[in-house]
């Protein structure tokens, strides 16, 4: 099915091209369609365009081409609604957790959506409990381990109750135990998930479908097993 013809898709990208200010191409003619409830792994070497692609999903970056999230344009008038629908987990939780306490961070998103302070507080508590951080609300992110910070960042996104979750290198900087704990946690979330990572083992465990990027272009798109078992393909694309 061609670009923008699939009405079932929650996410539709057609010919997305993005250039850095210095003129280099970060994304070059990317086409991608994701259906409701799908978990898609976006893999590729460093600099392949994974993070740039994710930052287009909620209109933080705007390239050339067409993007539709739940039928809305993330770069246009629907930007606020798109940001409420797409939760992006950044690679480094220290970039994402900017409030003095974890609770305030988890409340930040819901309050921006216009919910009442009491409702934002209860959503924050609920999402913290969901990621196993009940009772951590008063903690400062600076005093938490990398795994705890990652889960707190995830809670901050879940408190917004997004329909799509986009995760940028979710297992980066985690020790083996924290990484093991993260996999079932991510697997337990419903909704549509997009996991950008070069942790192929994590992608194999979480994703049914994989998109392989190289130099900003989609090199392969298909069932996870078929792509992840193709050692020659992975090797040729820096993985």
């Amino acid at each position: 099915m061609g670009c923008l013809e699939d009405l079932v898709s929650v996410l539709e990208i057609c010919g997305l091209t993005y250039r850095y200010p210095d003129g280099r191409f970060a994304l070059s003619g990317v086409d991608l369609s994701v259906e409701e409830g799908e978990t898609v792994g976006v893999i590729g070497a460093n600099g392949s365009g994974k993070t740039t692609l994710l930052l287009h999903l909620n209109g933080i970056l705007r390239g050339e081409g067409i993007i539709r999230i739940l039928g809305m344009d993330p770069g246009g008038r629907d930007r606020a609604a798109v940001r409420a629908a797409v939760g992006v987990l950044f690679q480094n939780p220290d970039d994402q957790l900017f409030c003095p306490t974890v609770r305030e961070d988890a409340e930040f998103g819901p309050l921006n959506l216009g919910v009442s302070p009491a409702e934002a507080g209860s959503r924050a508590e609920e999402s913290l409990a969901r990621v196993g951080l009940a009772g951590f609300g008063d903690r400062s992110p600076h005093h938490m381990s990398a795994g705890e910070k990652k889960r707190a960042a995830l809670a901050a996104i879940l408190a917004m109750r997004p329909r799509i979750i986009a995760l940028d290198e979710p297992s980066a900087d985690l020790d083996p135990r924290a990484r093991r704990e993260l996999v079932p946690l991510l697997a337990s979330f419903g909704g549509t998930r997009i996991v950008a990572s070069h942790d192929l083992d994590l992608v194999r465990k979480l994703c049914g479908r994989v998109v392989l990027l190289n130099s900003g272009k989609v090199v392969a798109d298909g069932p996870a097993a078929r792509i992840l078992d193709n050692a020659v393909l992975l090797e040729a694309n820096g993985l």
Binding site: A84, G87, F98, P100, G109, G121, D138, S140, A156, M160
Partner: protein
Amino acid sequence: MRHDFVDRFARVPSPVAGIDPRTRLVAALTVLLTVVGAPASRPGMLAVCAGFIAGYAALARVPAGWLVARSAVALPFALLAGAWLPFARPGVGGWAALAVLAARTFLAAAVIVLLAATTRFPHLLRGMEGLGLPRVMSLVLSFTYRFLFVLVEEAERLEMAVRSRAPMRRRRFRALTGAAGYLFLRTYERAERVYQAMLARGFHGEIPVGEIPRWGVQDALAVAVTAGFLWVAWRIW
């Protein structure tokens, strides 16, 4: 890196743990003004204030040795500033004035250290806002508190990298100046990423405010006790 006294005893269960940050701020400010404003001829006022500070520290379960050591940090400055007093006023008067100056400095430092150590920093900011501090100022302080240590850790990592590859002191200095520029660049990039993370969660130019705490019985009690001590200090001593 961890800070040494900010928040240090704020999570210790104690009879003063639940006092509203606004009450703490007002009480600390009034005690501070009493300490600073106590005339040199009435050292008894300082003694009453010292009693109040010691009582609060004991209730908040702050070890006396810890408090004395942190508060004494300010003493060298006071002694330096008042070193001329014994010469300007020969006899006991000059030394007494120097002692009062040192006591004032020590007690004022103790008030600040206690406030910072027993009140959680985010609550302190909330309290300041509640007392009229502009939101933009409290946000600047909040971001500073959140990212100061992240930045210091980044600087420490850069310094370690420079040391490990530049054992000669002269070369190390040159490399460190370059690292300072690099640190600025990293900080700028981090600021960009933090802003992107804020946008991703619906930020549209205004920082929303969560639930504001309310004054309770404990606060009324704290105000009464503080006012009682200050009354004794000003009227009786």
